[in-house]
Assembly symmetry: C2
Homo-oligomer: 436 residues x 2
């Protein structure tokens, strides 16, 4: 049986998951593929910690360079993370003519165009299914299954930490701070959680998906990003009263000569299947001309789900090696010469429905002042809920709007904030309601 | 730009969808693939009806034989349906060394092993993503994305007609007959609906999925099949009281040296994501060692969704042609020599939870007689609901059981039916509740 030799760089959580699958499911893999995936190396600076994986003699090494340079290694799997060493090893592997698999969304979002260009020049395969949505075949769906479709929109819950925290607030009325602590205690959030809760991790993933769906270069910097740290149990309770749930959504829409790309807490109606995705689960809906709406749902992170996606990439590439030829699929989903410079629409230009919550003095005329300002900026109110008088201090006024332009909304809120009857910054949550 | 020539056999709903995608999205397809998919022929015995697709001069023909035999046609797309002409054309195309795409689940379920053997012998590609789950990448997920996983179980809503009817009964309290009539009026059910409502179409799909997931030959005849025609609004209302919805599920489970394979109306808890799949939508959950649980959801039928899946198969094969080699993937998901004879477990041997509804005389002692018989067959009752006295006639007694063996259940129900206080055949609905 022919052998394909695999070298893993990085023996952390995902590295251990990939090693476990390659070793424990080696036989089932070969009964499907007809060849043997041999785990030749696992490189990590820490060769002492027991990861519960029994590697054969000589597999574990602290010399990643040697793994990349070994002429017998066919596929290099980068699972170090970060943008420093990871990038250097990937570019070195490509330069050696090796095929590369990675799960490193931050790296691809920041340097994917450069890496893809290098892989194209060398004619090697570069695969990254595990970088978006863990085990779900999101990238395969965009590159292969939907190849005949014009894609209109993608909406996704792509960060398990945020979804876990928002689910906790929704189900238990916890504050953000308490829900975060619980998530950390249960291993669903990092000690340093800002990459997740500020929305940046989700933005990395959307940058990759936009490129695949719309035939544009990977563009991270122009994506609008807003995290979930300001969401209060009150907002989520109000959302429920209106028939909405609050999710951190990645939204990528084709707007003709631009792409709308934004990450923010979003109210979605209970009829939207994404509203049922709870806990640390991820999901993505894709709207396209032929398929209509399609949804993928599963574990978006973790040792084994992410490992599964990495192994599917390794196998795809190994099939190409056995086949005798790489480059069967473009590295993004369009041919390099068809990739266009499509701008991301500035967030000020988007139009959507809004939820506002104001902390207002409990005095006559407040509502009239606020709605007067909104009217001045062409923001039409669809409903107002003024909550009953509280013993002390300001009362919440909650409003939902019809479609309005973000730029006008910003101006209006600034002006409302200046009213002497309004305390604190107004809360704004965008609503994704009607079908587009 | 290189061209790949495609010939479609059958200009019905799906044929028209495939033609529409190939023509209208021709440019987007080539910008992704780097080659041109040329719709060279569309063959149908009816060349008169206007399908709203503008074909170039010479494309439409009533001579399918000529399309199959034309040496310039690279890929034959069989969308005739049925097991007669469709099978002959496919085998003829394979004999000519042509690659074949089909959406014909009935044909694959019945003759797939023979077709796959022929394709293997000739070394041509044979693809059928559209045969299961319409636009959803179910077959691609099983063959490629989950290649590193040991698959434990699949549970699916794979027939839109049945799901539409059951949703109507659930939401509007309609009878089966009325819901069927509505489904027919709205184009969601055929004039001759038995293939759908009796569960056979779902069985065709499960036969294909089992082969892919478990490495067995396609086996349709041993799948237990029970349709939805006996489901009453009462049963669905009782289900709701217990926190269940009723769905026609395809269930395929790995049981070690056998596979459990059955199609029947099933009560599932509201916490199961399949319970939210309403109307004509389809969905499949896959449980496997690495990914845990994953779900795909989308339109399982219809001109464009099914057309999308066919186009993805055409493109995959065309990429192989451009690549210069076919057979990159096995025709099922295992190598031919690794496909085993795994028996399907007789339905009598399955163990599950049950819902029973008896029409009983409203007399003292009835419950004791029924529960006595159940006890005799080791069927343990988890709850009983005896509904209030009605003005006339029998009253419903509803029971849920703990796990019990199907063989014992059958015997017990036969004995209960023989009681003079029980009218009509008892209703039995299996429950898929606990995680396995």
């Amino acid at each position: 049986m022919k052998q394909i030799h695999v070298g893993i760089l990085g023996f952390g959580t995902v590295g251990a998951g990939v090693a476990k699958i390659l070793l424990e499911n080696r036989e089932i893999l070969s009964s499907r593929t007809g060849f043997d995936l041999n785990l030749k190396y696992v490189a990590d600076i820490d060769t002492e910690t027991d990861r519960g994986i029994r590697l054969a003699e000589g597999v574990l090494t602290d010399n990643a360079q040697q793994v990349v340079r070994d002429p017998d290694t066919d596929i290099i799997v980068e699972l170090i993370g970060g943008e420093g060493a990871a990038k250097n090893f990937i570019l070195d592997a490509i330069a050696q003519g090796k095929h590369v698999v990675t799960a490193n969304k931050a790296l691809i979002a920041a340097h994917g165009n450069e890496i893809v260009a290098a892989a194209g020049e060398k004619g090697v395969d570069f695969a990254y299914e595990a970088s978006v949505g863990g085990c779900m075949p999101i990238i395969k769906s965009l590159r292969e299954s939907l190849v005949g479709n014009r894609i209109f929109a993608m909406k996704g819950i792509l960060n398990g930490t945020c979804n876990y925290i928002l689910s906790k607030i929704t189900e238990e009325g916890s504050t953000f701070a308490d829900a975060l602590k619980e998530a950390q205690a249960e291993g669903f959030a990092e000690a340093e959680p800002s990459l997740d809760v500020e929305g940046f991790d989700t933005a990395h993933k959307l940058a990759i998906l936009n490129a695949l769906a719309y035939g544009m270069k990977i563009n991270l910097k122009d994506i609008y990003v807003e995290g979930i740290t300001k969401i209060t149990p009150d907002d989520i309770a109000f959302a429920r009263e209106f028939g909405y749930k609050v999710k951190l959504l990645a939204i990528g829409k084709d707007k003709g000569d631009a792409v709308e790309a934004r990450i923010h807490p979003t109210m979605i109606p209970l009829s939207n299947p994404l509203s049922n995705i709870s806990g640390s689960l991820n999901a993505l809906t894709i709207s396209a001309d032929a398929v209509g709406d399609m949804m993928l749902c599963g574990h978006g992170a973790g040792k084994m789900p992410t490992g599964s996606a990495v192994v599917s990439d390794i196998t795809d590439i190994a099939r190409n090696i056995i086949f005798g030829k790489s480059g069967r699929l473009p590295h993004l989903s369009y041919q390099p010469e068809s990739i266009r410079e499509i701008p991301i629409m500035p967030v000020d230009e988007i139009e959507t429905n809004y939820y506002f919550r104001f902390a207002a003095a409990d005095r006559p005329g407040v509502l009239s002042k606020i709605s007067g300002i909104l009217g001045k900026y062409n923001i039409s109110i669809s409903s107002v809920h003024q909550k009953g008088r509280q013993s002390e201090g300001p009362v919440p006024i909650v409003m939902l709007t019809h479609k309005a332009k973000e730029a006008g909304v910003k101006e209006a809120l600034k002006e409302i904030r200046g009213l002497d009857v309004v305390r604190d910054d107004p809360m704004l949550i965008r609503i994704e309601d009607t079908e587009e």
